[in-house]
Each structure stands twice: as C-alpha cells, then as structure tokens.
Amino acid sequence: MNKIFNKVLKAPWPYWAAAIILSLLNVFLLMFTGAPWRITSGFLYWGMWVLEKFGYNDFAGSYFEIYGGFTAGESFLVNTVSVLNLAVILGALLSVLISSEFKWRRIKNFKQVAFAVFGGLLMGYGANIAFGCNIGAFFSGIPSFSLHGWVFGVFMVFGGVIGSKILMRYMV
C-alpha cells in the first residue's frame, strides 16, 4: 500500500505518461465543452474584471468586445476559461498537499522579480495578440489542424532560443 502511494502520489510521474494523460484530458475538454484547453483569455478576463472593479469600463475595441465573452458587472466565475484556470491551480495545490511538498517559496532577490515582471508582461502581450499561449495556440491549435498553431510554435521556439541566451548571459 505504502509502495503504491510512493509510486503514484510521491515520486514524479514519467513525462510520457503525463503527455498521454494531458492529451486525453484535452480531448475530453473538446468533447464535453466544445472547446479545447486554453488559458490566456481567462487571464484577460481577470484583468478586465479587476479594471471594472476600479471603475474603468471603456472596453471598446477590446478582444472580448469583438469576440464576446465578457459580462459586465458579473463575478469573475462567469467565464469558462477563468473557472478552468482556477481549477488548474487547485489541482496543482491538491497534488502538492497530498505529497506533502507544499511550501511558501519566497522570492530571493530583486533580480528575480525584475525578470519575472518582464517575462510575464512579454507573455501576456504576446499571447493576447497571437490568439493564445503555449496551450491555446500551440497545444490545442496544432491538433486542431489550424496552421496558426504551427506558426506560433515555430516562433515560440525562436523566442525561446533568444530567451535562453538572455538567461545564460544575465540570470545565472
């Protein structure tokens, strides 16, 4: 019993097994909800929800105004991707608690924060103009046979090469 616990809930799962499980979960999302896994528009939704709480509501020409999906004055649980994102955080928390590996991991120095903010901004901006992140555009776009997934993937790798150079040069 203890052995099984250690194998399934303590030791990391092999990558290939996770790959198969994640693809099947993505297929189930498409089957049961009509759309595959995506993340970015949920973040935009959270952002607009916060802006609205601060009294800003001039969303003319925004992504959600064109494609629909933002309900003014609603709780941030009204958007499907928002719920999906919260569920992913909760799922990770569940896993880390069951394996007793949760820890508040504090920030070491200001350099980390600077790179985190810069990287986060680039990701948020890039994902929102390109219709998705590594999940929506890449992990769901390519299996959907949409060519934008491949284009996004190629340039994400290109950006990754530049990012790795920055990392090796300035961050280590």
Partner: protein, 81 residues
C-alpha cells in the same frame, strides 16, 4: 583511501533551471569521485537533475529534507574512465 571532497551548493529560492546550470558549472570544476551536495526547494529540479545527471553518467540520489525541500547528491564520474 584518497580524500574526496564534498562540495555544497545552496540553490534555495532559485527559479528553474538555475539550480541545474549552477550544478553543471560546479561539477566541471570538480574532480572525479568528488561529491556535490545540492539543496533546492524547486519541485521541478528533481526530474530535471535526474535526467541530466543520468545523461552525463554521474551517480546520484536525493532525499527530501523538509516539506518541499530536497538534497541532491551527485558523485562525479570521470568521463575518461
């Protein structure tokens, strides 16, 4: 028995993949049979380090020293052996 050195590398609060890059740099400077003790609290480090160390042919194992904190032990193997 010849004296073997134990090197220590503290990678607490470092983001992925910096612990592993630091370890690889340190290992380059170490002699064969020296031991490297690495401390990390990054969940991804274990899997990343295992894969890289296996590929390099060094010997390694790890223990959990606290909740979400690990110590990784790497014994350098001379690649020319």
């Amino acid at each position: 028995m010849k004296t073997m050195k134990e090197e220590f590398l503290d990678c607490m609060h470092e983001a992925c993949p910096i612990p592993l890059i630091k370890a690889s740099k340190k290992l380059q400077k170490m002699k064969a049979k020296d031991l490297l003790i690495m401390k990390t609290d990054h969940n991804c480090s274990i899997t990343n380090v295992i894969e890289w160390v296996d590929k390099q042919g060094h010997k390694m194992d790890y223990i959990e020293i606290g909740r979400g904190e690990w110590e990784i032990y790497i014994e350098k193997v001379d690649s020319h052996e």
